[in-house]
């Protein structure tokens, strides 16, 4: 009798084929960014000409700068709002906190296009000039939930008597937050922020509603370029963006694996017999 829980060769081949299809477009983009020729038919020779062109394209560089500033700023602002929010939500025993949490997470569930148009109409009503400020607010709207969720999850695993112990030893509530809670949720803040950063660097739908006529972000630039025509310059740009995302992911996974390792250590100690010295 063949075991059901193991894959047949055909099933494994299916997996391999789908993974191949998943990464084929990405590989093609990277490959052709180093292609000498402007045509996509075949790879005619290795060249960095498109990268050179890209770096000389001042509009592109401006968009890159905007995206980086936007990503970092919205990350930082959301990290503060999200972390303080998660910590206070877990400490408070308010009846209304469930509602607050629900609304705060809402941007993850509402289709992006609705979020984008709603913010556009709202900013217009407030007479906020469209530009960096509106982009920053818009990105913070969808970045906060990522950090909130991550930090809340890590707080749920934290022993509540830790902050109480700090208070007991003489720390004010603010000091206990700084000395105990913050360092302990820091890995979660970091991984949440990285996720938020990746989302900010990825966003077209919301940005395109609220960026205004003068400011462009990298994804918007890519979007308009793709719509107007295909030049290998975009390949180079895409490859750079992929590299940035991968770096963010690598850092993210380092934070994650670090956390897991600590947990494992603890288990080992618990399992070990008590080597306590007799007095």
């Amino acid at each position: 009798m063949k075991q059901m829980r193991a894959n047949t060769k055909l099933q494994n081949a299916y997996l391999a084929f789908l993974f191949f299809l998943m990464y084929l477009p990405v590989a093609i983009v990277i490959l052709f960014s180093f292609n000498e020729s402007k045509l996509y038919v075949s790879f005619s020779g290795f060249s960095l000409v498109w990268y050179e062109k890209l770096f000389r394209d001042s509009a592109m560089m401006e968009a890159l700068k905007n995206s980086l500033i936007l990503g970092i700023l919205s990350c930082a602002v959301s990290a503060v709002i999200g972390t303080l929010g998660a910590v206070s939500l877990s400490a408070l025993k308010l009846r209304s906190k469930g509602v607050l949490e629900y609304i705060a997470i809402l941007p993850l569930m509402v289709p992006e296009i609705i979020l984008g148009m709603v913010l556009m109409a709202f900013f217009y009503m407030l007479k906020l000039p469209f530009g960096m400020l509106t982009l920053l607010i818009g990105h913070t709207v969808f970045c906060v939930p990522y950090i909130l969720v991550e930090v809340k999850a890590s707080l749920a695993l934290m022993d509540p008597s830790l902050t109480e112990a700090a208070r007991d030893l003489g720390a004010s509530s603010w000091r206990a937050f700084l000395d105990i809670t913050l360092p302990l949720v820091m890995p979660a803040v970091a991984s949440g922020s990285l996720l938020a950063f990746a989302m900010s660097m990825d966003d077209v739908v919301i940005s395109i509603f609220i960026n205004g006529p003068r400011i462009s972000t990298l994804p918007i630039k890519v979007y308009t370029q793709i719509k107007t025509g295909v030049t290998p310059e975009i390949n180079a740009l895409c490859t750079i963006m992929l590299a940035v995302s991968l770096t963010a992911l690598a850092v993210f996974s380092i934070f994650r694996s670090h956390k897991k390792e600590e947990n494992r250590d603890e288990e080992q100690i618990d399992r070990a017999s008590e080597p306590d010295q007799e007095l």
Partner: protein, 360 residues
């Protein structure tokens, strides 16, 4: 009389609508070891948290050295706590954990180091300064928690089931260790546990708590040998409880009728039992004597026979269907299940419980 270190006056606390503490009042002397004893949910941990300032009472006051601290936040009270989970800061080393209270008081670093090392010496953990809590065993974590709580010279140390997570052997060791530290430092200890053996071994006084009320407070001897309420009698040492009518009063004491006969209750001077009154009393299982049927005593049938921790334990069934336990050391016994027997107890070993308890 010694100086009063801590006083609770009519402390009452509700969570939602549930009454958790119902008018707790008690005084603890300086350097005393007081244990709050009770099963889970009796309010002992809440009492501790109110003393620490981690909860605010709805009514009543907390006084430390005669000063009302009810409104003070935990960081402003000269009270420290050892938490059930130890609550060691996982991102700090042993040294940083222990020195944390001093760092908050802006003590110079040199001095912090000195006092930390003294403290670790005291709890026999020298050489562990640079370790992280995750690299410590349960017993070692416990010691760090003790050192951390004691370094600021608190007037009162609160301990919330500190030995609950340790195995039996280690628990005994730590019991002795804690007692040694308490006597050496002269700090007032308020110790919360549900383990009666722990309470009896370590305490100067025990406060038995039940459903948010203080049932009885007294020395271990008083609590064990002269419980005043049926809960205290049952919780500390599993006593048998009886209620019966006083048939007659004689010089030796009061004869009380129980199912299957009557027993003599030696009354301490001052209790004025009257004929026709109902009396509730407790008898420890080790004080119950089981006799062969033709001797004098109350009638019962042996229902069960078992051996537990070196003790022989007989469960007797009384004519009204209620059970009573008798135990003694050794495993040899002439009695077998089904056998008809008589039982009695020395008159002085029947402990009359508070009268108000009978009405409740």
């Amino acid at each position: 009389m010694n100086q009063v270190s801590l006083e609770l006056r009519n402390v009452t606390k509700r969570f939602e609508k549930e009454l958790v503490l119902d008018g707790i009042s008690l005084q603890v002397e300086k350097g005393e070891f007081l244990t709050l004893l009770g099963s889970s949910g009796c309010g002992k941990t809440t009492t501790l948290r109110i003393i620490a300032g981690l909860e605010t009472p709805d009514q009543g006051q907390v006084l430390l050295n005669g000063e009302d601290v009810t409104a003070l936040p935990p960081e402003k009270r000269a009270v420290n706590t050892i938490f059930q989970s130890y609550a060691l800061f996982p991102h700090m080393t042993v040294e940083e954990n222990v020195g944390y209270a001093l760092k908050l008081r802006r003590v110079p670093r040199q001095e912090i180091r000195k006092r930390t090392s003294e403290m670790l010496d005291l709890v026999r953990l020298s050489g562990f300064e640079k370790r992280k809590p995750e690299k410590l065993s349960g017993g070692q974590k416990q010691r760090v928690a003790i050192a951390r709580a004691l370094i600021g010279n608190p007037g009162v140390l609160l301990l919330d089931e500190p030995l609950g997570a340790l195995d039996l052997q280690l628990r005994r060791t730590m019991q002795r260790e804690l007692k040694r530290l308490q006597q050496y430092l002269g700090v007032t200890f308020i110790y919360v546990t549900h383990d009666q053996e722990e309470a009896i071994n370590m305490s100067d006084r025990i406060a038995v708590m039940h459903r948010g009320r203080l049932e009885q407070i007294g020395t271990p001897d008083e609590i064990y040998n002269h419980p005043r309420t049926s809960y205290a009698a049952r919780f500390v040492g599993n006593a048998n409880l009886f209620t019966g009518m006083v048939e007659s009063i004689s010089e030796e004491g009061a004869w009380v009728s129980v199912s299957g006969g009557r027993v003599l209750l030696g009354c301490p001077a001052g209790t004025s039992l009257q004929k026709g009154e109902k009396a509730t009393f407790a008898v420890r299982s080790e004080n119950v004597q089981v006799l062969v049927q033709d001797q004098e005593g109350c009638a019962a049938v042996v229902k069960e026979k078992s051996f537990l921790a070196g003790q022989l334990r007989l469960i007797l069934s009384m004519p009204d269907g209620r059970e009573l336990a008798a135990s003694r050391f050794g495993i040899d016994s002439d009695f077998e299940p089904g056998q008809k027997v008589k039982w009695t107890f020395p008159a002085r070993q029947g402990v009359l419980l508070d009268r108000e308890e009978q009405n409740a």
